[in-house]
């Protein structure tokens, strides 16, 4: 079971004001106004190519905006030195298999980069923190394994440990549950929930709408590079919007507090 014992620091507000990004003559996202309130679990949903990953890149400051601004606690994120930004906002891209044979401990220690000194490298305080992050994500036993030998689920948890190692208050995770089995997926969402309850903000890209509805405080719906809706799941996720954005027929399931649906393809023929 994954849990955390992190210090409760309140996250700064992260905003995208009129944000847009153009790459090779194509607008990947445009006119996006989104505020990630402190200590909220926000889920970003949308069909393939909607701009979900792009949104996280803009929020993390790793991509420059073509239009608009990203603000961290009211300050322009692009004006902040990269190392300082990395101490406050952590971004985990979609999982790529590592090719270099770091041990799990070395791999997670990469997350300490924004805190390390160039001359003295990792200090003993850092090492203690690494142990905690490994423990919190239930991978301490794997510490001396090479990352190239991990299973998809183990790797995902190691990536989560590296993300925690940065001590960032805002965590942006791109499809963190995609390689996980049901139990580990729920565990990870539970971990995200704990982090939020401690005061951090977490933004997740999720494909499972029902998981998004159940775990998230806010849902942001993207389609075709535009923000279609944003708000509490109960207000945002309704059959009408789901039909429009995802091209599915959503049948509400009774007896659940969250808006949970059964999905059928649009225009399914009855034999």
């Amino acid at each position: 079971m994954m849990e955390t014992r992190g210090s409760a620091r309140r996250a700064p507000r992260l905003e995208l004001v009129d944000g847009g990004v153009e790459r090779r003559g194509r607008w990947l996202l445009r006119d996006v106004d989104l505020t990630i309130e402190p200590a909220m679990l926000t889920s970003v949903v949308g069909p393939n190519g909607a701009g979900k990953s792009t949104l996280l890149r803009l929020l993390s400051g790793t991509w420059r905006l073509t239009e608009g601004k990203a603000l961290l606690g009211g300050f322009d994120l692009s004006a902040l030195p990269r190392r300082q930004a990395a101490r406050r906002v952590a971004y985990v891209p979609q999982t790529v298999r590592p090719t270099f044979e770091f041990t799990v401990r070395e791999f997670v220690t990469l997350g300490r980069y924004p805190h390390e000194s160039r001359l003295f490298g990792t200090r003993s305080a850092d090492r203690g923190w690494i142990d905690r992050c490994l423990d919190d994500t239930d991978v301490l036993a794997l510490a001396e394994r090479r990352v190239t030998t991990l299973s998809g689920g183990e790797l995902q948890r190691v990536l989560m440990a590296r993300c925690l190692a940065t001590e960032a208050e805002v965590l942006l995770l791109d499809e963190p549950t995609s390689n996980l089995d049901l139990a580990h997926g729920l565990d990870l969402l539970g971990l995200a929930r704990n982090l939020v309850d401690e005061g951090r903000s977490v933004v997740l890209v999720l494909h499972d709408l029902n998981a998004a509805a159940r775990f998230a405080d806010r849902v942001a719906v993207l389609d075709g590079g535009a923000l279609i809706a944003e708000g509490p799941p109960a207000e945002v996720l309704n059959p009408d919007l789901l039909r429009r954005v995802f091209r599915v027929e959503a049948v509400p399931l009774e007896g659940s507090a969250a808006p949970v649906f059964d999905f059928e393809p649009l225009g399914a023929r009855v034999l």
Partner: protein, 351 residues
């Protein structure tokens, strides 16, 4: 196979200690053995005369052989090996590709072209660092060309990297041949350049040590300063940037460092191939990819490897000599093919 792990530095220190012993042993053989047999006591007397304080008398001919021929040769071999291995380790990190090295992607040939240019136009004699400076410029230029051609969106596929290297190597080799042919009337000069191109440290003196030293110091300093950034770059530019690495600055610094190291080495030794490929690769297998350990270990390993290879070059067909570049190619080329086959089968297995 791996001997140094995340929290365990001991394997690293054992490896460095063993490397230092090997380097001293090979250097010792290089100093005490040679075409002219010299009594061990006399060699020690010469070394004492130069290295210890106080006045000592020595036989001038023995002094010349040991101090002016054998000693600088060993020192130059160690420096060249260290520089090439370090440059290779950096390039493999930069391209995120274990097949990158100064020789494979044309950096060495570029450096050679710069140096040949300086030699044939008589610029090399103008001041001590002229040849190394031209070699560094050639190395930098060829590295920039390969980066431009082979890297897309921060990713360098093996195939484009190797193909760009093959094309650049062929082009630069033709350029070098043309430059040498231009100076064919001065037979002696052309022969010297052609011999130098084949790679070796024969007849290198203290002046050559002086030619490598500045580049080696600068290159090593940059390499050490950016070692940690290179660790993060291995995980891809996006991850590195999200963790706070200044990607453009790091790439520029590492390119400069690799070019300075390669250029300085090639300017005195010609093209000694495969050192920058084989050495960092083996060291990474033993110590892992963390550059704080990898870079110094690759430097030391390159040093003893080339001093050892030079011993073979002098003794295999004594009293004749084999070119040092031939010896390293005999070791390195099969290893490169092995890596290529293994890489291909890994790619096939992951499909």
């Amino acid at each position: 196979m791996r001997i140094a792990f995340g929290g365990n530095q001991a394997g690293f220190w054992w490896y460095m200690a063993a490397g230092a012993v090997l380097l001293l042993a090979f250097a010792g053989i290089g100093l005490f053995r040679g075409a002219v047999p010299i009594d061990e006591g006399d060699v020690l007397a010469v070394l004492a005369r130069h290295l210890l304080p106080g006045e000592r008398a020595a036989d001038p001919s023995v002094d010349t052989i040991v101090w002016s021929l054998r000693a600088p040769r060993v020192v130059v071999a160690a420096m060249v090996g260290g520089c090439l291995a370090l440059a290779g380790a950096q390039m493999q990190g930069l391209f995120r590709n274990p097949l990158a090295s100064p020789g494979i992607v044309g950096t060495s040939t570029g450096a050679a072209a710069g140096a040949v240019f300086a030699l044939t136009f008589g610029l090399a004699g103008t001041f001590l660092l002229a040849a190394p400076l031209f070699a560094v410029a050639g190395a930098l230029l060829s590295l920039l060309i390969v980066t431009r051609i082979a890297t897309r969106d921060g990713y360098t596929p093996v195939t484009t990297l190797l193909l760009a290297g093959v094309a650049l190597n062929a082009l630069l080799a033709a350029f070098n041949s043309w430059l040498i042919a231009r100076s064919w009337e001065q037979y002696e000069a052309a022969r010297r350049i052609a011999y130098w191109m084949m790679g070796g440290v024969t007849d290198r003196g203290w002046v050559h040590v002086g030619m490598v030293l500045p580049g080696m110091v600068i290159g090593c300093a940059i390499a050490v300063w950016f070692a940690r950034d290179l660790d993060l770059l291995l995980e891809g530019e996006e991850v590195a940037a999200s963790l706070g690495v200044d990607i453009e600055k790091t790439k520029r610094a590492v390119l400069w460092s690799a070019a300075i190291l390669t250029g300085s080495a090639v300017a005195v030794s010609g093209v000694v191939g495969f050192v920058g490929l084989v050495v960092p690769h083996l060291v990474r297998l033993l110590l892992g990819p963390v550059h704080r350990r990898l870079l110094p270990a690759a430097f030391l390993t390159g040093a003893w490897f080339v001093v050892g290879a030079d011993l073979l070059a002098r003794t295999l067909v004594a009293p004749e000599e084999v070119f040092l570049g031939v010896v390293t190619a005999f070791v390195g080329a099969p290893f490169f093919l092995f890596l290529l086959v293994r890489h291909e089968s890994e790619v096939a297995a992951s499909r």
